[in-house]
């Protein structure tokens, strides 16, 4: 718009003022329909009796004036101008039976309808805004008591739940994963440890039962475990080449001694 002003510098002051007024006017309108509605008021008749032809002429004159002042009108104003020029010609010329599409009268009627409808909306908007309004004319409770939302959770369980729960724990105890009861078990590792310590002194054949740890010969369960472990450990020592085993006959005591060449 400022560029336009530079171009109008040659205009007289009054012309420029007029131009500015027009800009303000155009800016003040919310589009061509708003401008048309405003122009239609100058006809001072009921909107339903408005002369659309006159209105079209008024609008076109307005646009001409703007052009003369070299004001740049927004595109939609120019589109409307073109459309109204077309409408004007349709209204002025006798209807051409060849031509398809709506008649000039139909187009004019619709424009009149649009204007009337827009005006109606403006009227009711004003009536709406003039109503008694909450917070201005009538009021809500000043100290609203908030509704407390208490969410209570009630837990339930039945006797059955309880008993099943208990049964679950007890049976879990009974059937816990199998773990060897170590109390009366003498492992081969233990026997091996013990025998490795003692074997250095076994230069002569010795019954392996003498290698049993103290206190493991009275309880039969313990004795069985210790004997088995000691025997297995003896075999291991032989396999390592550190000892020799012999048995004179079936069920005779098994004897063990250090290998002669195992000096160190």
């Amino acid at each position: 718009m400022n560029d336009e002003f530079e171009n109008v510098e040659t205009l007289s002051v009054s012309e420029r003022l007029a131009a500015e007024a027009l800009i303000v006017d155009v800016d003040g309108f919310e589009g061509p329909l708003d401008l048309l509605l405003s122009l239609s008021r100058t006809q001072k008749v009921d909107l339903r009796k408005i002369s659309v032809l006159n209105l079209a002429q008024q609008y076109l004159a307005f646009v001409e004036k703007a052009k003369a002042l070299r004001l740049e009108l927004a595109a939609d104003y120019l589109v409307m101008a073109a459309w109204l020029a077309y409408l004007k010609s349709r209204l002025l010329l006798p209807p051409d039976p060849e031509e398809e599409g709506p008649s000039g009268e139909e187009l004019a009627a619709h424009l009149a309808f649009q204007l009337e409808r827009l005006q109606a909306m403006r009227d009711v908007a004003a009536r709406l805004m003039a109503r008694d309004r909450l917070g201005r004319d009538f009021f809500a409770r000043g100290v609203p008591e908030t509704v407390e939302r208490v969410r209570k959770v009630r837990y339930t369980a039945t006797l059955l739940d309880l008993m099943q729960g208990y049964a679950r724990i007890r049976t879990r105890d009974e059937f816990r994963p199998f773990v060897m009861d170590r109390d009366s078990v003498y492992t081969m590792e233990e026997a091996l440890d013990r025998m490795k310590g003692l074997i250095g002194f076994a230069g002569t054949w010795t019954d392996i039962s003498s290698y049993l740890p103290d206190g493991w010969d009275s309880d039969p369960v313990k004795w069985r475990s210790a004997t088995a472990a000691t025997f297995a450990a003896s075999l291991e020592l032989v396999k390592e080449g550190r000892a020799e085993l012999r048995q004179s006959e079936t069920f005779a005591p098994i004897e063990l001694r250090r290998r002669k060449d195992d000096d160190d």
Partner: protein, 227 residues
């Protein structure tokens, strides 16, 4: 097994409530009075039913209460499906201290609001068609933010555009029982100014003319405006 357990629980619950008789109507009236009085927002009958003792009839209590407050400094008003207590409008002058400065609405916003109220459910394109200019996003946003409008059902027309309708807050703010009470609504309808008239020669007939879904699309509107 679990089923049995739950059945058990239900049995314990069901008979308990029906053991109590609904309180007398006078008492119910007091209850409705207290609840509505305490709330700044309108309260629905449904909500009242939920909060009052089993077997209460808040609708009847409301009718009694409304009568009782007739002509008083405080009124019982209906807002859509809900009820609220509001000071009598003629006493607004006493409440300068309580007056809430409502945000100044632009002319565009006011017109848009009116169009939505009178034409709801209405699409943005329809609003633009009526105003003859495009509707700025800000205008709609402002109205949405104020909770005076909300999205309605989509139109059953090509593109299934969203529609806008006014809210209960809108009704509350403007002291309307429902959208049917909008000022001048009847006259506008009689004058055919609420019709969605397609421009002649637009080629495509308007959505109303031949769409099977027409009822669906306009239902809300007719619902609101038919009586």
């Amino acid at each position: 097994m679990t089923d049995e357990t739950e059945d058990h629980g239900d049995e314990a619950d069901t008979p308990r409530e029906s053991l109590f008789e609904a309180p007398p109507m006078g008492e119910q009236e007091r209850m409705v009075e207290a609840v509505l009085f305490a709330s700044a927002e309108p309260v629905t009958v449904r909500e009242l039913t939920d909060r009052m003792p089993h077997g209460s009839d808040p609708a009847e209590a409301l009718a009694h209460l409304r009568k009782r407050y007739e002509g008083r400094g405080v009124h019982l008003v209906r807002v859509g499906d809900a009820w609220a207590m509001r000071t009598a409008p003629d006493l607004g002058f006493l409440m300068q201290k309580e007056t809430v400065e409502t945000r100044k609405l632009s002319r565009a916003a006011i017109e848009t609001l009116a169009i939505i109220a009178y034409h709801q459910p209405v699409t943005r394109a329809e609003i633009e068609e009526i105003r003859g200019v495009s509707v700025s996003r800000g205008t709609v946003d402002q109205l949405l933010e104020m909770e005076w409008i909300r999205f309605g059902r989509r139109k059953m027309t090509p593109g299934r555009p969203v529609t806008f309708v006014v809210t209960e807050d809108f009704l509350d703010h403007f002291g309307l029982e429902n959208a049917r009470d909008l000022p001048g609504l009847k006259e506008l309808r009689a004058a055919g100014l609420l019709e969605n008239r397609p421009p002649p020669g637009a080629g495509t007939p308007g959505p109303e003319s031949d769409d099977d879904d027409e009822d669906d699309a306009t239902e809300g509107q007719s619902e609101l405006f038919e009586d």
